[in-house]
Symmetry: D2
Subunit: 129 residues, 4 copies
């Protein structure tokens, strides 16, 4: 591998906090493998769903809770944070096939009153050494 | 707006679970505003950091805990899940300026033993009606 | 729709150069429809593939040309630019099913000597009014 | 590096068409460096802008041409393709500082009648060995 390329890379990863180059390369490889895990929509995988919403909207919390119960088989855990007087943040960790997780995220994100939401695609860790 | 465009959009959002078109359009607008919030690196905002790691690696949990204490001013809350005998998932919700949150995420993701990690950029909700 | 939300959006889109709000909303909707077009991997669609490479590497240009001929059914057109004495940029516009276009992009991007490459997913325009 | 990780990676990259592992790792590193090149908004870099639009809309072609002349210092080359009777695709290759290229892309994408547009961030190749 050209020494120029490695020098540039070393500069970048030092800034990010990596102690050595091989850990940084391992992470690039793992990230690529997780991407593939999600493209193969039928493998079991894990996602976290982050929602920001206002609890001023009466029934929203109830609707979100009902949805989580409907999908309780998939939802491993949730965390709720009061950002300020009006705004809440909720994170759900969800396990299932990629397309099932995406479907649950769609349902939650499309609920009226959810200001912002995102599905973060991660991994069970089992196929990622 | 052309009726063809709206018809295609209605098909898509029905599948996602939206009850009506204006909520779906509101969400597209909000998503765009959150993106901008993060481009202006000096506004206070919120992110969630998702980490998957193996707790077989002795000191990793300690290192991650130490990092979270170092940045305790920013970390609002964390959640920990045992995915299986070897793999853990941890979500941190972090509040601060965009570039500070990115820095904390870089530090956590570059820690040796973290298999996969991602920063999800969301919002305080305050500037997103 | 809340006037706060629209005011924030109007500020953003003015900066981007939009003359009016409905054109900006149309574009958000279209972008969402194009994303869906690519998720349904079996619809005919269009992508552009951007490659940067050094022509110092003897056989690279030949390999790239051979690949383009192999996939000539899909490649609508290409453009070549001499960035400097060493570096070239090439853009190919490719039409086919999403998964076929991805396959061609993979082949081109993985060719030895290609420094950087990316598939940009766009549309035939036919299903996007 | 763990042999499990390398075995999974080898499977993936073989599918993508890579001949050997080091070329694939080089590409992961280069991709990361190009990302950084764009985060440092003041370095000279290169982007390609892909636009799909209908030429039924009278003045659109003129407006796009006028914009390209306004920014002629940055536009290295353009390519135009007739996708069908109604739809055109145009690719512009643009060189400049990251924020200048983004500004030009914003102007083009926000032009009325452009159905879909995207900025693809690539590189001059000079700092990417």
């Amino acid at each position: 591998m050209s020494s120029d390329l490695l020098r540039s890379f070393d500069g970048l990863i030092k800034e990010m906090g990596y102690r050595n180059r091989s850990e940084a390369i391992r992470d690039l490889i793992r990230e690529r493998l997780v991407q593939q895990e999600w493209q193969l929509a039928n493998k079991e995988t894990v996602g976290s769903i982050t929602l920001v919403y206002s609890h001023d909207i009466g029934e929203l919390a109830e609707v979100l809770t009902a949805l989580q119960h409907k999908y309780h088989k998939y939802v491993l855990s949730t965390m709720h944070i009061h950002l300020d007087k009006h705004n809440c943040l909720e994170v759900l960790v969800v396990k299932g096939k990629g397309k099932e997780i995406k479907r649950i995220a769609d349902r939650l994100l499309s609920t009226k009153g959810v200001k912002h939401g995102k599905l973060t695609t991660t991994t069970t860790g089992r196929r990622i050494p």
